[in-house]
Amino acid sequence: MLHIINKSPLSSVSLDTCLNTAAGGDTLLIEDAVYAATKGNAAEAKLKTAMGKFKLHVLMPDLDARGLGDRLMDGVIAVDYAGFVDLTSNNKTCQSWL
C-alpha cells in the first residue's frame, strides 16, 4: 500500500507514527514532509533506517519550492506529479498521515 505524509518531521509526529505503524511498502513525502528527506536534517537517520522496510519517494516540485532540490538524501526516489499518480494507481490502498 501507499503511505503519504505531508507534515514536517520536526513539527509533527506524522512521520514517526507512519514509520512505526505501517507494515512497509511505498511511502511518499509531499508538502512540508519533504524536509525529512534533506541531507543533515534531524530526521535523516530515522529515514535511513526506514529504507530497509519502505520504498521512499519524495515529490520534487515540493522540494524545489523549498529551495532544497539539491539536498535530497541518497536512497530516496524523486518523483514528479505523474509519478505521484503512478504511485496511487499502482497501490491498492492509500493512507494519508495528515
Binding site: L10, Y35, N41, D62, A65, G69
Partner: protein, 121 residues
C-alpha cells in the same frame, strides 16, 4: 525612535505548507509604516522561510521569499535565527537569503522576554 515599542514577530512555520509565513511577512511589511523597533525571530521550521533558492513554479504558489530581501528598505534589519533549529535542519548561515544574527535558544528566549509586543505565527 526613543518612545518606539519593541515588536517581535515569532516565525515557527515552514513556508507554503501553511499560510503562516506569508501572513507574518505581510503584517511585518504593513506594520513597518508605524516606525517601531521591529525584530523578526525564526524558530523551529520557521528557519526554512529564509532558505535560498526557492523555486515554486512546480507547485504553482507564489514564491514570496524575495520579499525578505526588501525588509531592509522597510528599515526592518533585526533578523534572528535560532541556532539549534538551524542545525537540526542541516542548515548553516550561508543557506539564508538575507543576513541574520544566529542566537542560541537561551539568547532567543531572553530577547523575547525583552519585548513590549510579541506577535506569533
Amino acid at each position: 525612535m526613543s518612545d518606539a515599542k519593541k515588536f517581535m514577530f515569532v516565525n515557527r512555520k515552514a513556508p507554503y505548507g501553511t499560510i503562516y509565513a506569508l501572513e507574518s511577512l505581510e503584517v511585518v511589511l504593513i506594520s513597518a509604516a508605524f516606525d517601531q523597533d521591529v525584530s523578526l525571530a525564526f524558530l523551529d521550521d520557521g528557519v526554512y522561510q529564509l532558505k535560498k533558492g526557492q523555486q515554486t513554479k512546480g507547485i504553482e504558489i507564489k514564491n514570496f521569499s524575495p520579499a525578505y530581501r526588501a525588509l531592509e528598505d522597510y528599515d526592518v534589519e533585526k533578523l534572528y535565527v535560532e541556532k539549534e533549529a538551524m542545525e537540526a535542519r542541516g542548515l548553516s548561515e550561508e543557506d539564508f537569503l538575507v543576513n541574520v544574527t544566529v542566537l542560541s535558544r537561551a539568547e532567543m528566549g531572553k530577547l523575547m522576554d525583552e519585548q513590549d509586543v510579541v506577535l506569533s505565527f
